[in-house]
């Protein structure tokens, strides 16, 4: 149920994604080709060693062809070749030696706990990095290649694990994976907005961000520990505090410097917002009767002022009260 809602929500983000891709430059497209190849490699790996996962594969295909509409035919051909085991192994070796300790451990941990979600997390991480690579500039080639290789290898590893066991609910996995990947897409979109602003910046930061996105739990992740605080909730509190503190009521009367009590702090004699204690207000009204804040004369007829605000059906009562006041 949850995944359904997520997919629905993220389905809206998909067209935006494709539109963004169209706007990309040529180098990005080249990178896309490269990515398509890589993706095909691990897909074919699945195809070779796993005959029963056809259904899943087709789903993968369709999803992928949605994402990259310029490459579908080539991909399929390569996928049918089926001799990509060597490629895949080389992929597996090179990145897992490099520094992915954090991601490795986390995915392994998830793999122990439950199979379906482990595959989904693998999916997820792979997609995150790929999407980001597509949208990134080509300045950060070295690092990014490493990372996408790592991500691919991780994904492939997860696939192998999955194959070795008998996976029962392929469809469920797919839906979870898709939803996760779509969520990741939106996340990577957000990070790309930041990225685009300073494309010439060092790729180190990009790399670290990717690591973060690989490692961290997403708010809707199944594996996310219940004890982790909800970030959105936490953010809402300081805002609230700020709102309360911004309405500044002076603690003491600016005229006599005595502390304002509750009645005084609720007393707002002038529309300019200048507050003072009732004693000072009375002494001023006995004198020239002008507000110390704006120097405009105070409303002499306080009753009139109050009732005129209400208006409408109270006009009769207003007239009577004001006439009473006039008699005074």
């Amino acid at each position: 149920m949850i995944s359904d809602s997520i997919t629905n929500a993220s389905a809206t983000s998909a067209p935006r994604d494709s539109g963004k891709k169209k706007r990309n430059n040529k180098s990005a497209k080249m990178k896309q080709n490269k990515l398509g190849l890589r993706r095909e490699q691990w897909l074919s790996q699945v195809a070779v060693s796993n005959k029963e996962g056809k259904e899943e594969k087709s789903v993968n295909r369709s999803e992928k062809s949605d994402q990259r509409d310029n490459q579908p035919v080539v991909c399929r051909e390569e996928g049918n070749n089926g001799g990509n085991n060597l490629h895949h192994e080389s992929f597996m070796e090179s990145p897992s030696n490099s520094s992915v300790g954090g991601t490795d451990s986390s995915t392994n941990f998830s793999g122990r706990s439950s199979r379906s979600s482990s595959s989904s997390s693998g999916f997820c991480s792979g997609n995150v990095t790929e999407e980001e690579n597509v949208d990134d500039d080509d300045d950060d080639d070295g690092c990014v290649d490493d990372w996408e290789a790592v991500a691919d290898a991780l994904a492939a590893e997860e696939e192998i694990e999955k194959e070795s066991r008998l996976h029962e609910s392929v469809k469920e996995q797919e839906s979870v994976g898709q939803s996760a990947s779509n969520v990741c897409d939106s996340i990577s979109d957000a990070s790309d907005v930041v990225c685009v602003k300073d494309p010439e910046q060092d790729c180190l930061r990009v790399a670290s961000r990717k690591q973060e996105s690989n490692r961290a739990w997403r708010p809707d992740d199944d594996l996310r520990p219940q004890g982790l605080p909800n970030l959105a909730k936490q953010l809402s509190f300081p805002e609230l505090d700020k709102r309360f503190s911004s309405v500044a009521i002076p603690s003491s009367c600016p005229i006599c410097y005595e502390d304002l009590d509750l009645t005084d702090s609720n007393f707002l004699p002038c529309p300019c917002g200048f507050r003072l204690c009732l004693f000072c207000h009375k002494t001023i009204c006995d004198g020239d009767g002008r507000c110390p804040g704006c120097r405009k004369p105070y409303e002499r007829n306080a009753i009139k002022a109050e009732t005129s605000i209400q208006g409408g059906g109270l006009t009769i009562r207003l007239a009577r009260s004001s006439s009473m006041f006039c008699k005074f």
Binding site: I255, Y257, E258, I284, G287, R295
Partner: protein, 157 residues
């Protein structure tokens, strides 16, 4: 205790606390009478009063803060809005534009602002006002600087 006295005590505390905050103003209360204050203000920079230290005398009336304090220059100053002999200051907030929200400290700030921006159209010092109104800024500046040197600067040696 009257409200004015209480208020002046509070202002005194405030002045003691914020002594460092405004180095251009030094406000001191008379030892025996809290209704008598003196202030030392520095002439604002980029004016002919720059470098001078001017002494002000405050006489706080009983109905303070409903009525403004009476302020005058003890130091001689050549300024269109200051009487040359008595040191009386022509400033609206010390007369009809007074508000109880002002303090002695803020009055000092207003006087510094008046030194930087003279108002020659309501002069108490006609000679000074006439110089400015005739457009002789150079003449006004040299006169004001001379009196600042003579009266507001510590004597050398």
């Amino acid at each position: 205790m009257q409200a004015s006295r209480a208020r002046l005590f509070k202002e005194y505390k405030e002045v003691q606390r914020e002594k460092v905050a405004d180095p251009d103003i030094q406000l001191v209360c008379d030892d025996t009478n809290i209704f008598k204050w003196t202030a030392l203000i520095k002439g604002p920079s980029e004016t002919p009063y720059e470098g001078g230290v001017f002494q002000l005398a405050f006489a706080v009336p009983e109905p303070y803060p409903l009525q403004p304090p009476q302020v005058r220059f003890l130091t001689k100053i050549f300024h269109p809005n200051v009487h040359f002999k008595t040191g009386e200051i022509c400033l609206d907030i010390l007369k009809n534009a007074w508000s109880p929200a002002w303090t002695l400290q803020s009055v000092c700030r207003a006087i510094i602002a008046l030194m930087a921006h003279p108002e020659p159209d309501s002069p108490l010092n006609c000679d000074s006002g006439n110089l400015l109104r005739s457009g002789d800024v150079r003449g006004f500046n040299s006169m004001a600087r001379m009196y600042t040197r003579l009266a507001a600067m510590p004597k050398k040696g």
